[in-house]
Symmetry: C2
DNA sequence: AAAAAAAAGGGTGTTTTCACGGTTTTTTTT
DNA sequence: AAAAAAAACCGTGAAAACACCCTTTTTTTT
């Protein structure tokens, strides 16, 4: 039997979901609460914790993101599935980043929900088109901005850029690259000019955005 | 008829692929070269450019990444499909980040290749499990490191952290937050202490890594 | 109501970062 | 071989970032 916690601030929806899920074979809702705060309290008296948490995002007091962060930190064994109306990349990525292993929109079919729950049990995660596309857009830098004024890193600029995405000072970077600090200064200035930036944070963000530095 | 360019340094594989693809209905290999440099030269005499570029990654002189970057910059209409032995997240993400719309391993089935090519024409991209999982892992921060010493941003620290991921100076951040620069200094120092960091770049990387700031 | 903790503000000085001016050496192009 | 371009290097000074130690106000806890 797979145990489930429902976190959603709309009592009506919560109850409807509870009814629905309890009819699925091998799934049982053991917790239903209106927000993360309530969940935190209830979980202290729930041993063992639920196998799956179905989490809404828009909730008062402690929203879905905060709830996911808390669950990941305190109950890592509980698989998180986002179930929300938020149909935007930002929400999808953020929830996945916080450890959710699935993301389902509230306008999904009953079968989708069941398929998602089953997938969580059998595969450990649930994939769908929505997630896929959000992820794809997430890692893909905006193509237009850096492709027309042909942007090409040359020489050791890429090497420098990667090191700029660290806590090394420019002097330390110069040491690592076996260059004089002045030369490194030159790389920085050239990139500032080329990319229209004015600070090292800007360089780091650019590098990450364009896949030059991977976190 | 969909035109295709093959970029692969192994002549044998290139020829085999050419034979294979030319047997697919509506696909024709019009260019086959051993690396990006050769491609650059050949493309100057090829009007219009090919619809699809099948790109290997490990090549001498100008590898698949450089080739992809060049193609995106100079021939944005050419769809790029990576076809390589590199079965690692880094390569997948990097190619997708450079604008590839698909990624296929060389040990795929013939049918997979045909499906990928057809998908490129009809959908504009080609999705598979490999890409999906790499993307998922890519946006997912390492769970263990920041979940045990429960790390909680309090008060306006998160707001500050987001602003630290910009090119604003601390003074400008203070203005935006309606605080004195000293207070902002305090936020920075508190976070340095709490997170074991020593520079603003470190803060930015942390914020991105943990989904506090999304690029 | 008192104590503790957190948030906000502060001073001073060092180090790093950035801007702006340049030169020399190597590589590429013509 | 000469010209052009790129890579490496350099000095100076102002601004920003960082370290360290401290006070006042507000909020939370006891």
């Amino acid at each position: 039997m797979t145990t489930i916690a429902l976190i959603d601030d709309h009592a009506l929806i919560r109850n409807a979901l509870k009814e629905l899920i309890n009819r699925f074979a091998d799934f049982k809702v053991i917790i239903d609460v209106a927000n993360g705060q309530e969940l935190v309290e209830v979980l202290q008296q729930t041993v063992p914790p639920p196998n799956i948490a179905l989490i809404d995002i828009n909730m008062p007091i402690m929203d879905g993101f905060a709830t996911a962060a808390y669950l990941r930190a305190h109950y890592p064994s509980t698989k998180m599935l986002a179930l929300t109306v938020n149909n935007d990349d930002e929400s999808v990525i953020k929830m996945l980043g916080l450890g959710a292993v699935g993301y389902l929109l509230k306008d999904a079919e009953t079968d989708d929900l069941q398929a998602a729950l089953v997938a969580l049990v059998t595969d450990g995660y649930y994939h769908n088109e929505l997630i896929h596309n959000s992820l794809l857009r997430a890692v893909k830098p905006v193509p237009a901005r850096f492709s027309s004024p042909v942007f090409v890193l040359q020489g050791r600029e890429e090497e420098f850029l990667k090191l700029a995405c660290t806590e090394l000072t420019y002097k330390e970077i110069a040491d690592q690259m076996c260059l004089s600090p002045r030369t490194v200064d030159g790389y920085r200035d050239a990139l500032f000019e080329k990319l229209g930036l004015r600070s090292r944070v800007g360089l780091a963000l650019f590098a990450i955005k364009n896949g030059i530095f991977r976190i």
